[in-house]
């Protein structure tokens, strides 16, 4: 059983992480170059980090980047790791993790739906939640929900009261 420090040492010995951080007890955050991330994932999987909780995506509009965060957990170390990497917002292409965790296919499809990130190697990126979506992906920061609603739907007046947005 490793503790948080052992884990950081292990990762430092095998990779060149940009940032290592013990967030709080049992929670570690690591940042990688995008070239190294998939290798790090499969390395961790073979070192007892077998549980992939989910993949999160954050849109950093001002920096022009998407941040992908892979949350792993080990049932022997009892540590939660968040592995982060940043990719350019345009064209927004990254590698798939589906070869390591088949379930990642669906998390990637979800991110593709809502952020428009494409995953090389995942050839099944059809719409998962949305249907016939024509606008820019809705979870991007430059998608204006209010404008979309006003363009798409009509406001209704109640009891003679005019709706004001």
């Amino acid at each position: 059983m490793r503790n948080e420090k052992d884990l950081l040492q292990l990762m430092n010995a095998h990779f060149n992480p940009l940032k290592l951080e013990i967030k709080r007890e049992q929670n570690v955050s690591l940042e990688f170059e995008k070239e190294e991330l998939i290798q790090a994932l499969s390395f961790l999987k073979s070192h007892s980090y077998k549980h992939l909780s989910t993949i999160s995506c954050v849109d950093w509009l001002e920096e022009g980047e998407f941040e992908l965060v892979y949350h792993l957990f080990s049932y022997t170390d009892l540590i939660n790791i968040s592995l982060k990497t940043r990719i350019e917002r345009e064209p927004g292409i990254f590698q798939t993790a589906k070869e390591i965790w088949p379930v990642a296919e669906f998390y990637e499809r979800d991110i593709h739906d809502f952020f428009g990130v494409k995953f090389k190697g995942n050839d099944n990126l059809e719409e998962l939640i949305l249907e016939n979506w024509q606008e820019i992906p809705p979870m991007r920061k430059d998608f204006d929900t209010r404008k979309f609603v006003n363009d798409k739907f009509e406001w209704r007046d109640y009891n003679g009261q005019k709706h004001t947005d």
Binding site: S82, M139, T145
Partner: protein, 369 residues
């Protein structure tokens, strides 16, 4: 049905046999599933986007709506994320109250879903009993929080208000009633029922390796004999102060999962009794200043808790402003509802499909968000 007949069936999104507004598209050969595809998205309400548009405190009224069956876990995990980023210390009494609320929620969720499982095999009496028993718990919730289903009670920094001593007495009475009257009836009607045993034993098996590989947790994983429970592995609220066992099964089938739900409720009763007996005095809310102006520093946190269906997590990012920058919901049943359906349903016979879908505790709003 002729075994060579091929049929395509759209099951759901509106059907009493599916767990919520979510469909599964099946192809059958005879009465055996040859392929299944999750048809999600009917319940998508854009929670994550809405959260980015609301101030921190307002979201506490939004998050419980992500899962109807278990709303409180959302409030808890949202509050925990806020506290982790802001490094806020919660008063100990609030921790205890949170655990009591979460355990009451666990019992109401389990009893409701055991009823749902029973309905899936035609045992409608048990379903009605489940709904009735849940109502007694909702009465307690109403007394504590003023609301029956969505409580908006656990909030950043603590809980909304204190619980009176007489309410604690009522909770203890109800726990006795559940243990001595409701559960023995349930035992006779369902768990000693040969029909239920026959329908659930050896059905919808998911092995330990398969569960870990796809990220399934909770009863699905525990049904294989591994006592993995976040309440033990990464204690939160007041779970480090109580003693309880993590129920497990051994065959990984529907029967074991439903028995785990029953045993979980008994453990919850044990936990609630311990918590009420030694709850400390003190405030129930940390002073965070004006609720409309909550601000926490830049940062991010992945927080997770053990819901009745397994790991329930939020990834939260703050940019230091009045609103969250990003909140990502990891539902307990996401891998099962999307990936599991495709991988494990083929080969199942049509009559066992409800056994499969219900015993895994799929909650569609978690992945539609």
């Amino acid at each position: 049905m002729d075994k060579n007949t091929q049929t395509e069936i759209f099951f759901g999104p509106n059907h009493p046999g599916v767990p919520g507004n979510y469909g599964i598209n099946y192809q059958f050969e005879g009465d055996t599933v040859t392929s299944a595809r999750a048809n999600a998205g009917h319940l998508h309400r854009g929670f994550e986007k809405l959260m980015e548009e609301r101030i921190w405190i307002k979201n506490t009224a939004l998050v419980p709506r992500i899962c109807v069956e278990e709303p409180d876990i959302n409030e808890m995990v949202y509050a925990m994320g806020f506290e982790a980023i802001g490094e806020i210390e919660v008063p100990r009494r609030a921790d205890y109250i949170r655990s009591i609320i979460l355990e009451l929620a666990r019992i109401q969720g389990h009893i409701f879903s055991i009823g749902g499982n029973a309905a899936g095999i035609g045992q409608y009496t048990v379903m009605h009993w489940g709904t009735l028993t849940r109502d007694y718990l909702l009465d307690i919730f109403e007394e504590i929080t003023g609301a029956r289903v969505y409580h908006i009670y656990i909030r950043p920094g603590g809980v909304r208000q204190d619980i009176e001593a007489e309410t604690f007495a009522k909770i203890l009475d109800l726990m006795d009633e559940l243990e001595n009257e409701r559960f023995p009836d349930l035992e006779k009607a369902l768990f000693e029922n040969p029909n239920a045993q026959k329908r659930w034993q050896g059905k919808a098996v998911i092995t330990k390796e398969e569960a870990i590989e796809m990220g399934a947790t909770g009863p699905v994983l525990r049904a294989n004999g591994v006592p993995h429970d976040l309440r033990k592995m990464m204690p939160y609220a007041a779970y480090d102060d109580v003693e309880f066992e993590v129920p497990t099964g051994k065959n990984g089938d529907a029967w074991d999962r439903i028995k785990i739900a029953r045993d979980d409720m008994l453990q919850s009763i044990k936990i609630i009794r311990q918590l009420i007996n030694k709850i400390p005095d003190g405030p129930v809310q940390a002073d965070l200043g004006n609720g409309l102006k909550y601000r926490i520093p830049k940062g991010d946190a992945y927080v997770k808790i053990e819901s009745k269906r397994g790991e329930y997590g939020y990834y939260m990012v703050s940019d230091g402003s009045l609103k969250p920058y990003r909140v990502h919901v990891r539902g307990a049943s996401t891998p099962l509802g999307l990936y599991g359906v495709r991988e494990f349903l083929p080969g199942t016979r049509i009559a066992d499909v409800p056994v499969w879908a219900k015993s895994l505790g799929i909650c569609p709003p978690e992945f539609d968000r």
